[in-house]
Amino acid sequence: MKYSAWSLLRGALSAHRHWPVAWRDANPKPRYDVIIVGGGGHGLATAYYLAKNHRVTNVAVIERGWIGGGNTGRNTTIVRSNYLYPESARLYDFSLQLYEGLSQALNFNIMLSQRGLVLLAHSRHDLDAMSRWANAMRMNGIAAELLTREEVGALAPALDLSPRARLPVLGGFAQRRAGTARHDAVAWGYARAASALGVDIVQNCEVVDFIKESGRVVGVNTNRGRIRAERVGIAAAGHSSVLAKQAGFRLPVTSYALQAMVSEPVKPLLDTVILSPGTGAYVSQSDKGEIVMGAMLDLFPSYAQRGSFAVTQAIIAATLALFPSFSRLNLMRQWAGIVDVVHDSSPIIGPTPLANLYINCGWGTGGFKAIPVGGWTFAHVLATGHSHPLAEPFQLERFITGRLIDEAAASGIAH
């Protein structure tokens, strides 16, 4: 069913009893052309683009829990493309472009709000670094705007702009096209569109090992039985290493908990996204009015989806240094997702050491913004066996050849 003003009107006249389920919760079939392990944003987007761009519809997305219940439901919903290197700029900006058209393409309102992202400079060195960063973005064809202290203040009046602030704001820069999107809607929008094209979405289905025949992967054994496939793709973020171990290889990945939290909802007071690379803090206000806060990783390997109180405290301290007026808000929820951090903070999208097995991982702390491009490029390699031009630099071999794309420094991520 196509969602439209007309279908809404029809719903209003029929007490909204005509709405069908958005997507089919399928039982696994014994055989598929492609199996995608992981029903988060990246897995669901991959399935959708396999069906849409490549006409491969005999596809299953198998998910251990429920779709969108991992990092897709545990992020701060920020979308942006303010990267430094040309390879990353191309990749992430294509993602943002897909986000810009996604509500129309999926016929599902993903509530994209291009409210802009402002990065704060707290020192003269920060100002210099941001000029370089903004100029690099412009060289890559992505609009970026350097801001004075007054211009930052006009965009976010709640910031502590006094010269005696713990973290004085000297200026900053903005990417106006950046913003936020509704995380559940992204997962459900892709799921609904993929399901409509014939993709099976199988929940509560955990892979226990990979079926190999003469060195090639030919399917997976799951808690819901054996499923064979021509090709298998892994899109499991923080659990990539666990699946790789089952398949018999290692990845250059370490899993960490990345936490975020929201306050109680308050009236609108912050209509942009504020990022302070010096503290790692990023702060925005959700459409419901909650102040959404995130910052640094819990810097020790973890698969526990909760996050340490030591880091919760540090994130709140960093946020309050920027916005002293938030100090009387009550904290409502706190959560953590397990993120797949690689040494250069750039993704891996392509083949693995095993034939027929492909992987999309390494997005680390920034997977949500990359869901459309992750799905687009991963679908390309799963359908054709060749890397998409955007994904060519982001292969596993770079950790052997040394051709890293070291966005860890370039994007100013504090972790």
Binding site: H239, S241, V242, K245, R250, L251, P252, V253, T254, S255, L299, F300, P301, S302, Y303, A304, S308, F309, A310, A314, V342, H343, F399, I400, T401, G402
Partner: protein, 88 residues
């Protein structure tokens, strides 16, 4: 918050420590291939479960030591000196 038993100072809060990653990784010889070096530098077991790792009591005695810790439950199973071999 985890409580970590520093080998010198005893039980302290997690935020006094920094984690130095996986322990007992052998450095390959200079004549080894790029594959061995890439493996040594970047590729990790990253287990969900028991992990042998190095920690430093940064805001205490400043000393390094090893922990055997479960990455899923955060239970600490043993603590041992830098030069000790891993527990069986």
């Amino acid at each position: 918050m985890m409580q970590i038993p520093c080998i010198h100072c005893g039980l302290r809060d997690e935020n006094e420590f920094v984690c130095g990653g996986t322990s007992h990784i052998a450095r390959p010889g200079l004549e080894q291939s790029d594959t061995s070096w890439g493996d040594y530098l970047f590729f990790r077991d990253n287990p969900k479960g028991l992990h042998l790792e190095r920690w430093r009591h940064a805001y205490g005695c400043g000393q390094w030591f090893n922990l055997a810790r479960n990455t899923h439950t955060h239970d600490i199973l043993s603590v041992y000196a830098m030069t000790d071999s891993p527990p069986p």
